[in-house]
């Protein structure tokens, strides 16, 4: 028994994938590309996939990508989703900064606090989208933003789980 527990479970030749450092950024771009799916909806209740994956990675690891990558990644998201250019650039960079400041303060984290944190970030994202739409008189009543917000918060754990699986795969675990 003891002998079995002591034998290393890691097999020889198991190591992080060669391009492991780029996997998080690539998944964010792929998530942004989900906007190209031929879904024709007149309600706009789908989540902002790019942002969900972005904060999913950032909450899982402190350094999934160099901090300044947030800006180009946000730019890609803006291009594919049709948000006004610069919206995700600013929001995603600000998210990196905010989460770093939060990381300095918090002593420990658990699953629930991460979900709450993600919920707050998603709410900020949705509210900003609404605010920007209001600037050009294109905003629906604020109450209409509730369903997409609730849906986004509810699907976040699913995205977080997928990201943790991808993370384990890229690191060869």
């Amino acid at each position: 028994m003891v002998r079995a527990a002591l034998t290393p479970t890691r097999r020889i030749g198991q190591a992080p994938w060669r391009y492991a450092a780029y996997v998080p950024a690539v998944t964010v771009v792929l998530a942004a590309l989900l906007s190209a799916l031929p879904i024709i909806s007149t309600s706009g209740w789908y989540p902002d996939f790019g942002y969900l994956v972005f904060i999913g990675w950032r909450l899982l690891r402190a350094d999934p990508w160099p901090a300044w990558w947030a800006a180009p990644l946000g730019f890609v998201n803006d291009l594919f989703t049709g948000y006004p250019l610069g919206f995700s650039v600013a929001l995603w960079s600000a998210t990196m900064l905010a989460l770093d400041l939060i990381d300095r303060r918090t002593m420990w984290r658990d699953y629930r606090t991460e979900w709450v944190l993600a919920g707050v970030l998603i709410a900020i994202d949705e509210w900003m989208q609404w605010r920007i739409a209001k600037l050009v008189d294109g905003a629906p009543p604020l109450a209409q933003m509730a369903p997409p917000l609730v849906i986004s918060i509810c699907v976040f754990p699913l995205f977080a789980w997928i990201i943790s699986r991808i993370d384990a795969w890229r690191l060869g675990r």
Partner: protein, 291 residues
């Protein structure tokens, strides 16, 4: 970025400091871009068009797949109650035939009257025909992606319609695909009138797939359930007499209408030239362009 102080290494401290600077620069660049794209959206026309072209093969290809699958299911559903449907269609056809004869007579009379008045007849020509292949399903705005672009002659500002009714107007155009501001978007305001009695109204999207219609003159609510709203041609962008929506609900001083051309169900969309290009050019030079 790492957390807290990375130890006594000067190099690590500088690295942390510069990454903070880089993020703040990212925020500033983003805000500048955002301001530019809100104030002068035409600046980014080319970039946005290129992005549309990148995604258009994916969107178009997948659309074919989903359309086929959907067709199989609705096809099977149609067989399920074929007898009922058949009877109903026959009844409808009889009614339609009668209306068509009436319409033909009116059409002829109309042509004669117009000839008498020497009214200028507008050529209704089609610029391009495309499919609605995608939409802004994760945004409070209501956009659709159309599978026709500048290579087909599509330009920003052109109205888009389907045989059923008005869809919207082009706001971004790539070479292969373009983005349409739907009539159900809050920023899309269409001068319209009631088909029943010609009362001028304003149609504005509500952002949830429906349209808000208000009479131009304040007073009695002129709407009834089932009323058809058509474009009036005022403003020169949208051609007149294109159906927009059907009134489904009345409220205090207006009504809520459903678009007759449901972007999810139309088989193809027609891009037409702006109705009065001169009038539109004068209007779009004003800064109040919806974006």
């Amino acid at each position: 970025m790492a957390t807290a102080r990375p130890g006594w290494s000067r190099r690590a401290q500088y690295g942390l400091f510069f990454s903070f600077i880089a993020v703040i620069a990212g925020i500033i660049v983003g805000l500048i871009l955002l301001t530019l794209s809100l104030v002068a959206p035409e600046q980014f026309q080319r970039v946005r068009g290129a992005a549309l072209d990148v995604t258009s093969p994916i969107t178009g290809g997948l659309h074919e797949v989903t359309a086929t699958v959907e067709g199989l299911f609705t096809g099977a559903g149609d067989y399920w109650n074929a007898a009922n449907q058949n009877a109903e269609l026959k009844r409808e056809r009889q009614a339609m035939l009668r209306r068509m004869v009436e319409a033909r007579a009116i059409f002829q009379e109309n042509r004669q009257l117009k000839a008498v008045l020497n009214l200028r007849e507008h050529e209704r020509n089609t610029i391009a025909i495309g499919r609605v292949v995608g939409s802004s399903f994760n945004s409070p705005r209501r956009f659709a992606i159309l599978s026709a672009g500048t290579s087909d002659g599509v330009r920003v500002g052109m109205p888009v319609r389907s045989p059923d009714g008005l869809i919207g107007r082009i706001i971004d155009a790539g070479a292969l695909a373009s983005r349409v501001l739907l009539v159900s978007d809050r920023a899309n305001i269409v001068p319209a009138r009631l088909l029943r009695n010609g009362i001028p109204v304003i149609a504005q999207g509500r952002g949830d797939g429906t349209i808000d219609v208000r009479p131009l003159e304040v007073g009695r609510n002129p709407f009834k359930r089932g009323d058809i709203i058509i474009t009036s041609g005022t403003g020169g962008l949208y051609p007149p007499l294109v159906p927009i929506g059907r009134v489904v609900k009345l409220d205090d001083d207006g009504a809520v209408a459903l678009p007759l051309a449901d972007p999810a169900n139309i088989s193809f969309a027609i891009v037409e030239p702006a109705f009065e290009p001169a009038a539109v050019a004068a209007e779009t030079s004003a800064p109040a362009e919806a974006r």
